[in-house]
Assembly symmetry: D2
Homo-oligomer: 362 residues x 4
Amino acid sequence: MSSHYGENIQLTIFGQSHSPAIGVTIDGLPSGIPLDLEALQQFMNRRAPGHNEWSTPRSEADRPEFLCGLHDGITCGAPLTAVIHNRNTRSGDYDSLADCPRPGHADLTAYLKYGPHRDYAGGGHFSGRLTAPLCIAGGICLQLLAREGITVMARIRSIADVQDDTPFLCSVADKEFPASDDAAGARMRQRIAEAKADGDSVGGIVECLVLGLPAGLGDPMFGGMENRMAAAIFAIPAVKGVEFGDGFEATRLRGSENNDPFAVENHRTITTTNHCGGILGGITDGMPLVVRAAFKPTPSIAKPQQSVSLTEGKETTLQVHGRHDPCIVPRAVPCVEAAAAIAVYDAWLSQQKYKEVPHGVE
Amino acid sequence: MSSHYGENIQLTIFGQSHSPAIGVTIDGLPSGIPLDLEALQQFMNRRAPGHNEWSTPRSEADRPEFLCGLHDGITCGAPLTAVIHNRNTRSGDYDSLADCPRPGHADLTAYLKYGPHRDYAGGGHFSGRLTAPLCIAGGICLQLLAREGITVMARIRSIADVQDDTPFLCSVADKEFPASDDAAGARMRQRIAEAKADGDSVGGIVECLVLGLPAGLGDPMFGGMENRMAAAIFAIPAVKGVEFGDGFEATRLRGSENNDPFAVENHRTITTTNHCGGILGGITDGMPLVVRAAFKPTPSIAKPQQSVSLTEGKETTLQVHGRHDPCIVPRAVPCVEAAAAIAVYDAWLSQQKYKEVPHGVE
Amino acid sequence: MSSHYGENIQLTIFGQSHSPAIGVTIDGLPSGIPLDLEALQQFMNRRAPGHNEWSTPRSEADRPEFLCGLHDGITCGAPLTAVIHNRNTRSGDYDSLADCPRPGHADLTAYLKYGPHRDYAGGGHFSGRLTAPLCIAGGICLQLLAREGITVMARIRSIADVQDDTPFLCSVADKEFPASDDAAGARMRQRIAEAKADGDSVGGIVECLVLGLPAGLGDPMFGGMENRMAAAIFAIPAVKGVEFGDGFEATRLRGSENNDPFAVENHRTITTTNHCGGILGGITDGMPLVVRAAFKPTPSIAKPQQSVSLTEGKETTLQVHGRHDPCIVPRAVPCVEAAAAIAVYDAWLSQQKYKEVPHGVE
Amino acid sequence: MSSHYGENIQLTIFGQSHSPAIGVTIDGLPSGIPLDLEALQQFMNRRAPGHNEWSTPRSEADRPEFLCGLHDGITCGAPLTAVIHNRNTRSGDYDSLADCPRPGHADLTAYLKYGPHRDYAGGGHFSGRLTAPLCIAGGICLQLLAREGITVMARIRSIADVQDDTPFLCSVADKEFPASDDAAGARMRQRIAEAKADGDSVGGIVECLVLGLPAGLGDPMFGGMENRMAAAIFAIPAVKGVEFGDGFEATRLRGSENNDPFAVENHRTITTTNHCGGILGGITDGMPLVVRAAFKPTPSIAKPQQSVSLTEGKETTLQVHGRHDPCIVPRAVPCVEAAAAIAVYDAWLSQQKYKEVPHGVE
């Protein structure tokens, strides 16, 4: 199940950081849907490395090549497979990692699970590079959701101790640095620059909204929107926490504060606040869905760190070379959108099955 | 998929708060394993209502009745089904809820998804009562894990603003109030009592440790331990956030602070700190797995709240009667253990498939 | 996966022949659908034992008791669980089987797979009795399909060497002996009576039609209607072959004979023959779906047979006592309908997801 | 689910006959296993077209290109993806099929399901060409099974009315025409040649043995070996029936004839006959597993056939051009081995989870 997601669309992500190619297969897409490949590329570009001071200088075009499932830019109903060939690989950088795992990385656990034949170069299948095929799939789901009037948008909510508490009112997709408040964004960039100067890294929080959602998506218990979205978002490397609505802060509120009062607006039940993040009992209530993902600081840092030699079984000091982001969070923003879009579109398809039931799901 | 979980064991949870019975089927259990039904009952009792001032006075024996899969207390390889008959139901309490959904509850979304024929009594399939079958399954998994030397233990980490920051060194399963530090526990109980006195409720955080885990459990991407555990834990009603290791706090650290240095101990690689919560790249590293779940305050409160009449389509004031916990968190402690045990046992079974691979998974 | 089926509805079957109860959980049913419980019972009665000379005299009421998911006879959207309590158990009959497996039965393989703790009484989870919950689920799916104008009907096509080659034009559900041609049916009953008189048994073929199917159900490759239906029908004990349309006979035809010519009727493409059994490329073409299942002769026979003592590891002669059908085929007719209905309804739900796609699936 | 198979390995097949590439992803393979790519290629060659008079002259190298999951020919634990680029495509041949579906083909149902944007060229995703990635996956599983002492071998059992009833004692993989008895093989080739001369086609039956299987593989009900194998084998285009052991013939036997007597050999229980085809109750008994697949005659024939114009909605005569096999059966032999190997390896992995259970599964 490692690389699979979905009940109605079925996603399969494959590839290693330095294998000939990485890619994704999506099965279950509707047929006859034109995809805007230019828009998809622009979405991919938001994730792509090498464009600014806070990301790795590794420069990959990250242009999806469609092997099947798409004909003249229109889905044909067959599984869609898109790959990205890995061109700018510099595996030599990683030779020292064969023996010496990077703290905070999957290097050790990949070795413990898969043994000496795991692909360690660039983190192998555990590399953040695998978020590129995630974004191909997510970018396609974003377009399918947009056809239904559903919008997914994410922003940086915090970097290190700098928080952007302004309301999240409009997309930041066009900004070079995807924070709502540019003043906060400037302080965030400063934290990143400071960390970079120290050979260190910082983390942060990405906040994502889903707007235009119909009520009734998601299922009880294990099929809740929280379960579905967490199962997708935790696939992004470095995510260590996921919360909905007020999330961990809600634990400090009283019920009378946290319960969202119901009201009627345009003959429809709404909530006058949204502490629950648009989800009650695992099911969307028609208000904006709010989810936040906590990203740990990038584990690859230039500072010397204590590691071990796997072959010699003794401690050693590791100095990581190669190209790394001092902060992954800005590039993670579209990844969270992608994971959210995948989970939401899958749940949306699920609900379509019952559209004709007599009681009339909205 | 609403009521299903698992790749290797397959869990199916069924029932409504006031249906004739609730229960669970677990398929994929090994055959020939004696279950300690007394220990299972004691585990169930930790979740059961009616035993103290902070839980609902609804008194259910919560005694699992085994319909199949168990023969003389020993698993026989066939799917195991256990049910609990709902005896002490007082559905009359809920008649007013047919028209008037409780804020913060699934009443509204159940109506929007399933229409007028949803079972609203006691929250139906969305009731916290469904954690009883979750605990049957989890209690069985706890016993199976114990055979492998794996222990799961949870405690209250915080209630409202009261936090227990003492180290989590030993089980609190025998305590009436499951906090590590009794002084903090006393303050937590006070917060609960205050809320109850006000006809209100409070939330909190449950922290769970998994000890004795072998390295190598979990899979990359969607199959990571974080994904698997979040997908199980979010099935517990009122959970709005899940984090691993330092979780959201890790976003404030630098890489050099958050990366756990590797060291060698007894010919085995360990980490000298555990900010990552025992999971790197989705895969266990052999250190304690640390997960925390944020519980919102119980939505059912005595205070009048603003709701709507579903039939009349206009706003109204709701006063919830019936029996409710002013704080669900103490009873949620075994539920988190149950969900964690289910996810871990399922991942453990998954890894068994590769035990004989030449490189020798630990 | 042993007891699970379905992508859109999720079936879980549980129980052993002599456990306290057997049953089924169906998740994913639409909400608000009234079930005709009387019709369901009549469907169950067609499978129930004890009503005539060719079935076991074990008399079970086989009345489903609904634990949840159904409210006043109307589905409520929550998982539906129905159980049948095993009352008329005579486990003493089976004591000798603990050591001595019945040839042709799962007794040996259950022992080899599950060890000494498998439940051998009455065949345990492998008993034909588990087709009762299959029929509960199938009977419900039949009613859901009927709402869409889809009919499933099966008949005996052959018993031993007696074949009914008359066209299958109308349901035989009301007949005591479910063959289309009563003369052939009389000869079939004679074969059964002869076998019974000899302490022996006979097998046969059940043929099933699905009428009123829309075109477009099923998916390519592993998701084909053949794959889906075979995966369900092989769950019925004693089935050793499944074929569609002309099936094995098609291997003797030439392409020009086997290809079904297309024609236009009422602005719709039809085939003028139906060698393909209504399925092309795994997908329904709108013509009647035709499937046949081969049932081996009942393995439980009164004649002495060569077996082994599992504990002593040496050969021995086994004489099976207890109650057994000399021919399972008449009672298998509703079971095949049930399995077919489950597979078809699951595929039908799958297709609903794409109903609104612009090209307009029929 | 159309292109997915497996519980423990997860197969995803993608591609269309004339898309840029076709391929397969296999997730869940053990790490550290060297694959014999030369042997894999030889296996692929048995399926490849263009080598003799009974197959289409379309000549594709069918050389898998490994995009990931394999490092120096050794599995690395990450999902393995292999693709074959479609080079020798002649889509012009298929232009007439856009409007006029070939009888016996998926052309009509693909149109009805996916609409005008389905990829009709060469049958699109429904093409027999998709068995090439099936054979990549199957060829890998064959090698993994061989490491466990498990052998899978298939042969032609019949073509049209010519049957090879000689015992299936050894592999025919090295034969140009894969029948056991060369005299029967010569008559089969004659039938193919006759059909070809008539612009027609013939079908046949492929028989497959699995040797060296441990007892205990498979699960009851939906997880039986019959269900698992049928779900895989029906993915091969043109298969219209699947049977195990004596299959449909068993319906003519009495229980006393069909039941396989048990005996003891080398301290192990065997059966002295094998009417059940090595499967009792869905679970392997340690004897050879026997499965047969019925292949209909190739639907693409040169003879004029009655079809319809989809756009004009009226009947027309179709003459199929392009390259087609007068008999697909010889090339289907490795495909059946592939599907069987995939199903068996998946079931074998499943059973590994319980290897350490105290009762000692063999």
